[in-house]
Symmetry: C2
Subunit: 377 residues, 2 copies
């Protein structure tokens, strides 16, 4: 029988929130957003946009009172208040204790290890000085426990001479993995325990900025590896009992192992292309999951690709999209602009989804696109 | 070089406007809506929703001053004011003189005839009494010249005895066509004269309400017929020099002719399934066309179907969607709810897009969906 759809209060109003709001129109789901930036990507897309801090206990508590389900589009939110809301019977998805674990890369890694999930070897470090105790563990990546975001909070430590590059805060040293590819799998789970997994995608990172620069779906890997990567994601979300979508970034090592790198308990950059590339998008899937609806089909329509659209170096100010009409003239090229007023170097201003008949066709279009579009001011 | 995207003022804020607004998010296009209903489908989707009449000269004139491009999502708007805005240099798409012609089915039919487009034979009628002069033309459909909408304004006249069922206003009598299928083609054209056509779809009407009830894409017709239907649509939009999308409803007669039935200069019920079924949707295409951008790829991802979701008989009041979760459990079934607060019998409350591997699979899912969902109050 009919059950009214719950209202959603979302912490964060950035681009992920924007695409959640856009997807919510289909089912007429009501979403409110809380974001400190009055001009956040979501601010014009819901009459219930509230300017405020998602880290402030009282602000989040009052905001959370108003909606049936509380969710997030960014991890760095106040966990204590989410736990309080949950204890008062509010549905908070992803669940606060999982969010808390994922917020801290040290706890995250320990969780993988404790539950037998494959991940690169690591040691925990307390501060910069403690790196010197692990010279024999180098070369490795030093990762900040808390607060890293979009490539920040990760530092490569080649040898003893470079330990001073490490973070002077709790973190971990992770063995540099000799990988062939980086993969990502997005999986969803609803409160009934139903899961649905998107096909594994393949990522190419920008060497300097460490942001996903280019992505292909489906990943060019064997069926065995694909199944293995997808099984890890499903096992992980089931072990966590997480409600919502979970993005699992992985390494495929040169000797054929799949290792978990990091996870994010929300729609993720590595799933943008699901909007045109798959029957359901990761955004719709997250909404279905957190509102307790059956999950959607994750089937790919074919090959897809995704390019991030970053602010060009040397420009800070009101954003302009040079070459936008030119890329729109290429068949199968679909820009998604995030509605951010101000561009700055390497700021994520949008992304571009590319559809094509083959991986080669997508790479060709991606190269055309890269040469045509630029976010300037 | 960069050219700022124009702002859009849309007359009408119903479901077609809603899907235009949703599509506009991708390119961060700013759309304002004017609709007499304060709770129209669009009212929560843009901060620039204005309650007001799109038939009132002064209201539309003031509204139109504020935006770069004026467009419509309903034909029954004030034409004189659109002509005035156009004469003052405002971009008005579709162009008012085309809208005026299409508003009147008599002018529409005459246009097809004058330009050699295939259409069923007809005679113009001035009032109900004049029907008696055309007894030898029966059986035929009597169509009201102006003001028909969603199946209203069309009456079947079998014989002399039933001429009293005709409309007592200017109209036309159209020979009943012995058709095999009803087809629809959506085509777009931008101000540069570029056109793009969606594959022909096949419609099944509800016998009583005369609303599209069920639609398949692509139509199950020969390549020759498909090309013929698509060519008619392209020739028509080029002859009209219309900017925007044009929906062309056609009959495929039992002897293999393709005849134009009616046209609509806007996104159309027969193109809803392009949202998941094709690379670009008709909504995105309309936005690209009226803002002067290159048109998108119209390629189908495969088979798709579309069912209208109408208010159930016997229910008037706040809408509830019985069986919504049940249909969401069927893979490839995607409901689109229009956010209308009040349901009434046969009101268009939403639609359901169905994806599947074959026409048979889609029909099977459509039948499941029909038996599961009901809009009640």
């Amino acid at each position: 029988m009919y059950k009214a759809l719950p209202s959603i209060g979302l912490l964060g109003g950035g681009q992920l929130g924007r695409m959640l709001l856009q997807a919510a129109v289909d089912l007429d789901l009501q979403i409110a957003c809380l974001d400190p930036d009055a001009e956040a990507s979501c601010h014009q897309l819901t009459p219930n946009f509230q300017q405020g801090s998602f880290q402030d206990y009282e602000t989040v508590y009052q905001f959370g009172q108003k909606y049936d389900v509380i969710s997030i589009e960014i991890e760095h939110v106040n966990i204590e208040v989410l736990k309080q809301l949950e204890s008062e019977g509010k549905k908070v998805y992803p669940q606060p204790h999982i969010l808390q674990m994922i917020q801290d890369k040290r706890l995250q890694k320990q969780f993988f290890k404790d539950h037998g999930f494959p991940t690169a070897d690591f040691v925990l470090t307390d501060n910069q000085a403690s790196l010197s105790q692990h010279i024999d563990f180098l070369p490795a990546f030093h990762k900040l426990g808390k607060g890293g975001y979009d490539g920040k909070g990760v530092q490569y430590i080649a040898d003893a001479a470079s330990v001073t590059k490490g973070f002077d805060a709790p973190g971990l040293l992770e063995k540099a993995v000799d990988f062939e590819k980086e993969l990502a799998v997005i999986v969803a789970r609803n409160p009934q325990g139903e899961t649905a997994v998107f096909p594994a995608v393949e990522m190419v990172f920008h060497p300097e900025q460490n942001l996903v620069e280019f992505l292909f779906s489906p990943a060019e890997i064997t069926t065995t590896i694909a199944k293995q990567a997808e099984k890890i994601a499903v096992d992980l979300i089931n072990t966590l009992e997480l409600v919502g979508v979970l993005a699992v970034e992985m390494f495929l090592t040169k000797d054929g192992q799949v290792l978990i790198n990091e996870i994010a308990p929300r729609p993720h950059n590595s799933g943008h292309q699901t909007i045109r590339g798959n029957e359901s998008s990761q955004y719709e899937q997250h909404l279905r999951a957190i509102t307790g609806l059956p999950l959607g089909s994750t089937k790919s329509f074919g090959f897809s690709g995704m390019l991030n659209l970053l602010g060009a170096e040397g420009f800070t100010g009101p954003a302009k999209y040079e070459g936008l009409a030119d890329i729109l003239a290429i068949p199968g090229v679909f820009p998604f602009l995030y509605g951010k007023k101000i561009t700055k170097p390497f700021r994520k201003m949008g992304h571009i989804t590319i559809l094509g008949d083959s991986k080669g066709a997508i790479i060709e279009k991606a190269n055309q696109v890269k040469n045509l579009i630029r976010v300037i001011s």
